[in-house]
């Protein structure tokens, strides 16, 4: 079983200045996207619990695409998030079957210290929709400086019979973050929360 991929997209956002202030290090955000045929359309199969192998393959592909595009090593990643948009002939659960089974296994193989849940967003929508990918730190969810998001869109996707899957990675928290809370240096990074 392999996903049928129509195209792979990359969006990289390199932020150098926020509110007129130069950042010490530019903030990189990347979204790696795959547009695939919805494998569940027309299937009699109502049990979607066995599709982890597809999710795992997609997770690996998008992790590798994102890291290559950012030209960074896994140690340089700070935040992550994921999203899925199912085209209009599909159902919400189709996207979820790909995003929530096996997908994270591939992320954690490449980011072995990742403990926090991978924040996600799901919807059923027409081509050209925007999707806001939620982001937070991969070690501990409560690191407040890293609560973030990245909006992405692909003009011609997802078509009605397609699914668009997104993985986002960043090299830092929000630019000029200053609202307190748990800081990265104080995070324990064992339970995914603190």
């Amino acid at each position: 079983m392999e996903p049928i991929i129509r195209k792979e997209n990359i969006i990289i956002d390199e932020l150098r200045i926020e509110n007129g202030k130069h950042l010490a290090v530019p903030l990189l955000k990347c979204a790696a996207i795959a547009i695939i045929e919805n494998p569940f359309i027309g299937e009699e199969e109502q049990d979607l619990s066995t599709y982890g192998v597809l999710g795992k393959q997609l997770g690996r592909l998008l992790m590798e695409n994102a890291l290559r595009a950012l030209r960074i090593s896994p140690e340089d990643v700070q935040s992550y998030g994921k999203a899925v948009v199912t085209g209009l002939n599909g159902e919400m659960e189709h996207g979820a079957a790909l995003l929530h089974q096996g997908f994270d296994d591939s992320i954690r193989e490449i980011l072995p210290l990742s403990k926090s849940i991978v924040p996600s967003a799901e919807k059923v929508a027409p081509a050209g929709c925007t999707i806001d990918v939620p982001l937070h730190h991969y070690k501990a969810m409560k690191i407040r400086s890293h609560y973030d998001g990245m909006e992405v869109f692909v003009q011609d996707a997802p078509r009605a019979n397609e699914i668009m899957i997104v993985l986002s990675l960043t090299t830092g928290g929000r630019p000029l973050s200053r609202v307190g809370g748990l800081e990265y240096k104080d995070a324990i990074g064992q339970d995914g929360v603190n």
């Binding site: 129509r6 195209k7 990359i10 990289i12 003009q155």
Partner: protein, 196 residues
């Protein structure tokens, strides 16, 4: 040395197309656009002289082309098509886009590709942040290569702000996916005048 814009952000859009109409491509088609967002030095003030933006063009033409071709992961010689675009924030003028794009930005693009007889197709607008921009693409050496009439759509949510300009360059690695309307072919280019 050209005056450089103080770039607030750079956004890269890349797509690798593997199938079209359900039919796999022999070679995946790579399309890429890079957008630079920077302060418009003439926002809110009328200036007869727009030379600072022209200087920016010299810098951006090379810098953005280099970023895009590297992101595509191909050599400069393998680039087939090019295009450019500019969106000016609402405190600026349409002519500011022209000053950014037309006098200077193209030459370093052509130089980088080691080619480029054709005009670099372009689009410009004054718009609010989050506007979409359809950047046109043409084959770099002959405008009549119909198989390469193409475009790439970009959008940056928070740009251009009212006092900013967003300049975009775009490239592709080949003709439209599964192009099949009659067209002059690359190997049939004769006059090398940029047209055919």
């Amino acid at each position: 040395m050209a005056i450089k814009p103080d770039i607030r952000k750079l956004v890269t859009f890349k797509e690798v197309i593997r199938t079209e109409g359900g039919v796999a491509l022999d070679v995946p088609l790579i399309k890429c656009a890079v957008a630079a967002v920077f302060k418009n030095p003439y926002a809110g003030v009328y200036s007869e002289d727009l030379s600072e933006l022209m200087e920016y063009g010299t810098y951006l033409g090379h810098y953005l082309t280099d970023m895009a071709v590297k992101a595509m992961g191909i050599s400069a010689e393998e680039v087939h098509s090019f295009g450019k675009g500019c969106a000016v924030g609402l405190d600026g003028e349409y002519e500011h886009a022209a000053a950014t794009l037309h006098p200077r930005l193209g030459a370093p693009m052509r130089k980088y590709l080691g080619a480029g007889k054709a005009i670099i197709p372009s689009v410009k607008k004054v718009a609010a942040a989050g506007c979409t921009m359809d950047v046109p693409l043409l084959y770099k050496d002959a405008m009549l290569i119909r198989s390469h009439y193409d475009a790439i759509t970009v959008r940056v949510l928070d740009a251009p702000r009212t006092d900013e300009i967003m300049a975009v360059v775009a490239f592709s690695s080949g003709p439209r996916a599964r192009a099949r309307i009659s067209s002059l072919k690359i190997e049939e280019i004769k006059t090398w005048n940029g047209m055919d």
